[in-house]
C-alpha cells in the first residue's frame, strides 16, 4: 500500500471512530435514562404535583416542575426574542456588516455566550435582592433570559448574514426604508428564527444553575409571576440526592420527561422551519 492510501485509510478510520463515540454516547445516555426511568414512569408523574411524602417515595408526580420549566424556558425565549431580534437587525441593517461597533458587539455577545450559567444566576439574584424580589417565576425568567440572549443574538446574526445582499438591494431599490427592508429580511430568515428558538429553549429548559437561586422551588404550580416555580432539572437534582430508591428512580423518570419535552420542541420547530421556508429564496 502506498503512503497516500495508508493516510486515506487512517483518517477514514479516525472519522468513523469519532462518529461511533458520539453516536454511542448518545444512545448510552438515552438508553440509561430509558431503562432506569421507565419502571418509575406512570401517569401520576406527569399529571400530579408532589403529594405529602413524595420525597420519601409516596404518591405524586412532577407536574409542578414540568409546568414550571415550560413557563421559565418559554417566557425566557419569548422575552429573549423580543430583545434579540431588534439587536440583530440593528447590528446588520443599520450598522452594516463590517462596522466597528457591530463587530465589538459581536465579540461582547460571544463573551456573554461563554459565561457559565451560575454567573447569570448570581447576577439575577443580585438584581432580585436590589429590587426586593423573592425567588419567583419572574426572577427565574429574567435570569434565564440573560442566559439565552447571547445565543439568540448570535444565531440570528449568523442567519441574517446568509441573506443575499441583492435581496436587500431589491427591496431598497423599490423605495423601502431600512425598517421596511428589514421586514423582508425577517421574512426570509423565518426558518432560522425557529432554529434560534430551538437552541434557546433547549438551553433554557435544561439549565440548573441560573434558576437555582432565582426561580426557587415549589411543590405547587405557580399561578402568578411572583410565586416560586419548580423546574425539571432542579427536580431531578433533588430526587437524585435522595437515599430512597423509589425517589432516585423518579429522578430518571423526570429526566426522561425532560428529554421528551426537548424532543417535542425539536420536532415542532424543525417542522415549523420547513413550513415557513416555502417562500424563502435560495
Amino acid at each position: 500500500m502506498t503512503r497516500r492510501k495508508l493516510e486515506e485509510n487512517f483518517f477514514r478510520v479516525l472519522m468513523l471512530l469519532s462518529i461511533i463515540i458520539v453516536a454511542g454516547s448518545f444512545f448510552l445516555i438515552v438508553g440509561t435514562i430509558f431503562i432506569k426511568g421507565v419502571p418509575f414512569m406512570n401517569l401520576d408523574m406527569i399529571t400530579k404535583i408532589p403529594g405529602g411524602g413524595f420525597y420519601i417515595g409516596k404518591e405524586g408526580g412532577v407536574l409542578n416542575a414540568i409546568i414550571g420549566s415550560l413557563y421559565v424556558a418559554g417566557g425566557a425565549t419569548i422575552l429573549g426574542l423580543l430583545i434579540s431580534i431588534p439587536v440583530a437587525i440593528y447590528i446588520n441593517m443599520y450598522l452594516g456588516s463590517r462596522n466597528v461597533v457591530a463587530n465589538s458587539l459581536r465579540i461582547a455577545f460571544d463573551v456573554l455566550f461563554g459565561i457559565p450559567s451560575i454567573v447569570y444566576g448570581a447576577f439575577g439574584f443580585l438584581i432580585m435582592v436590589y429590587f426586593g424580589i423573592k425567588a419567583s417565576l419572574l426572577g427565574g425568567i429574567v435570569a434565564v433570559t440573560l442566559l439565552v440572549i447571547p445565543i439568540l443574538v448570535r444565531t440570528l446574526d449568523e442567519v441574517i448574514l446568509t441573506v443575499p445582499k441583492e435581496l436587500r438591494d431589491a427591496s431598497l431599490a423599490l423605495g423601502a426604508t431600512r425598517w421596511e427592508m428589514s421586514k423582508v429580511v425577517l421574512r426570509q430568515i423565518r426558518p432560522g428564527i425557529f432554529t434560534a428558538i430551538l437552541l434557546s429553549f433547549g438551553r433554557a429548559i435544561g439549565d440548573v444553575a441560573s434558576v437555582l437561586f432565582t426561580a426557587g422551588f415549589s411543590d405547587n404550580i405557580p399561578t402568578s409571576l411572583h410565586q416560586p416555580a419548580a423546574t425539571l432539572p432542579l427536580a431531578i437534582f433533588f430526587q437524585l440526592g435522595s437515599p430512597v430508591e423509589e425517589v432516585q428512580g423518579r429522578a430518571y423518570a423526570s429526566a426522561l420527561i425532560l428529554t421528551i419535552v426537548v424532543l417535542i420542541i425539536t420536532v415542532l420547530s424543525s417542522w415549523l422551519a420547513k413550513r415557513f421556508s416555502k417562500n424563502k429564496i435560495q
Binding site: 441583492e166 438591494d169 431598497l172
Partner: protein, 253 residues
C-alpha cells in the same frame, strides 16, 4: 445628443477604501432611450449604475463626490429623500431575487410601500404589470403561489414587473440576462426595446452583441473612466478611441 438629459452625471468620483473605482465621470443620459454601459470586468460599470439610485450608500468606506442630477435634481444633495429617488428607478440585478412572498405580493410590494392602494386597484395594477412583462398568462392561475416556484427566467420578468409597479421613470439593468437561458434572454431583451417608449433604460452588459441588439447608445468604460460615448452603430463600427477599437475587436476584455 439631446437637450434634455434624464440623468446628468457631473464630475462623479467614487472610491471604496483606497481604490478609486470611478474617476471624474461626466455624462448625460438621454431620455427614453436604451443606453448600454460596456467595458471589461472590474472597470466600474456596476458601480456607475448603482450610483444612479444611491445603492452605494451602504457600501463600507465608500466616498462619493460630484453630482448626479435626475430630472435636474441632485440625488446626492443631503436634503434629497433617498426613498423618493429610488422609487424613480427600477433595478434588475444579475440574478433574479424575488422577495420571499407570493407572486402577487412581489408586484404589490412597491405600491404598498408608497401608499395604501385599494384591493381593486392593486389587482388591476398587478395584472397590468404582469401583462407588460408577458407573465400574466403563465401565472394568472397561481398568483398566490410562492415566487420561488417560477423558473429563473420567469422570476427575472417578475422582478421587472415588481420594479415597474412603483411607476419608475428609469430602469437600471445590471447584467440582467447573465443568469438566463437564451430564450429568456431574448424575451427580456425584447421587453427592454418595447419598454423604452415609456422609460429610460440603462443596462450594464459585457456582451457586445447584446449591447448592439438592444441599445441606442453605448458608454464604454475602462479603468473607472468613460472612454467613449456615442450611438450604438457609430461606436461599434467606427470607434474614435484606440481603447474602444481594441475592446470592440476583442483584443482587450
Amino acid at each position: 445628443m439631446t437637450n434634455n438629459p434624464h440623468i446628468s452625471v457631473q464630475h462623479l468620483n467614487v472610491s471604496i477604501g483606497n481604490n478609486d473605482i470611478l474617476k471624474d465621470i461626466t455624462i448625460n443620459i438621454p431620455n427614453k432611450k436604451v443606453i448600454s454601459i460596456i467595458g471589461p470586468s472590474g472597470c466600474g460599470k456596476t458601480t456607475l449604475l448603482k450610483s444612479f439610485n444611491r445603492l452605494l450608500d451602504d457600501t463600507p468606506d465608500v466616498k462619493i463626490t460630484g453630482k448626479v442630477l435626475v430630472d435636474g435634481e441632485d440625488i446626492y444633495d443631503p436634503k434629497a429623500e433617498v426613498t423618493h429617488i429610488r422609487k424613480k428607478m427600477g433595478l434588475l440585478s444579475q440574478r433574479p431575487y424575488p422577495l420571499p412572498m407570493s407572486i402577487y405580493d412581489n408586484v404589490a410590494y412597491g405600491p404598498r410601500l408608497h401608499g395604501r392602494p385599494k384591493k381593486v386597484e392593486l389587482d388591476e395594477l398587478v395584472e397590468t404589470q404582469l401583462k407588460a412583462t408577458g407573465l400574466w398568462n403563465e401565472v394568472k392561475d397561481r398568483l398566490h403561489a410562492p415566487a420561488t416556484r417560477l423558473s429563473i427566467g420567469q422570476q427575472q420578468r417578475l422582478c421587472l414587473a415588481r420594479g415597474l409597479a412603483v411607476e419608475p421613470e428609469i430602469i437600471l439593468g445590471d447584467e440582467s440576462t447573465s443568469a438566463l437561458d437564451p430564450v429568456s434572454t431574448s424575451i427580456i431583451e425584447d421587453l427592454f426595446i418595447h419598454l423604452k417608449q415609456k422609460y429610460t433604460i440603462v443596462l450594464v452588459t459585457h456582451i457586445l452583441r447584446q449591447a448592439r441588439r438592444v441599445s441606442d447608445y453605448i458608454i464604454f468604460v475602462y479603468m473607472g473612466k468613460i472612454i467613449e460615448f456615442g450611438p450604438t452603430e457609430e461606436l461599434l463600427l467606427n470607434p474614435q478611441k484606440e481603447l474602444t477599437k481594441e475592446y470592440v475587436k476583442g483584443f482587450i476584455s
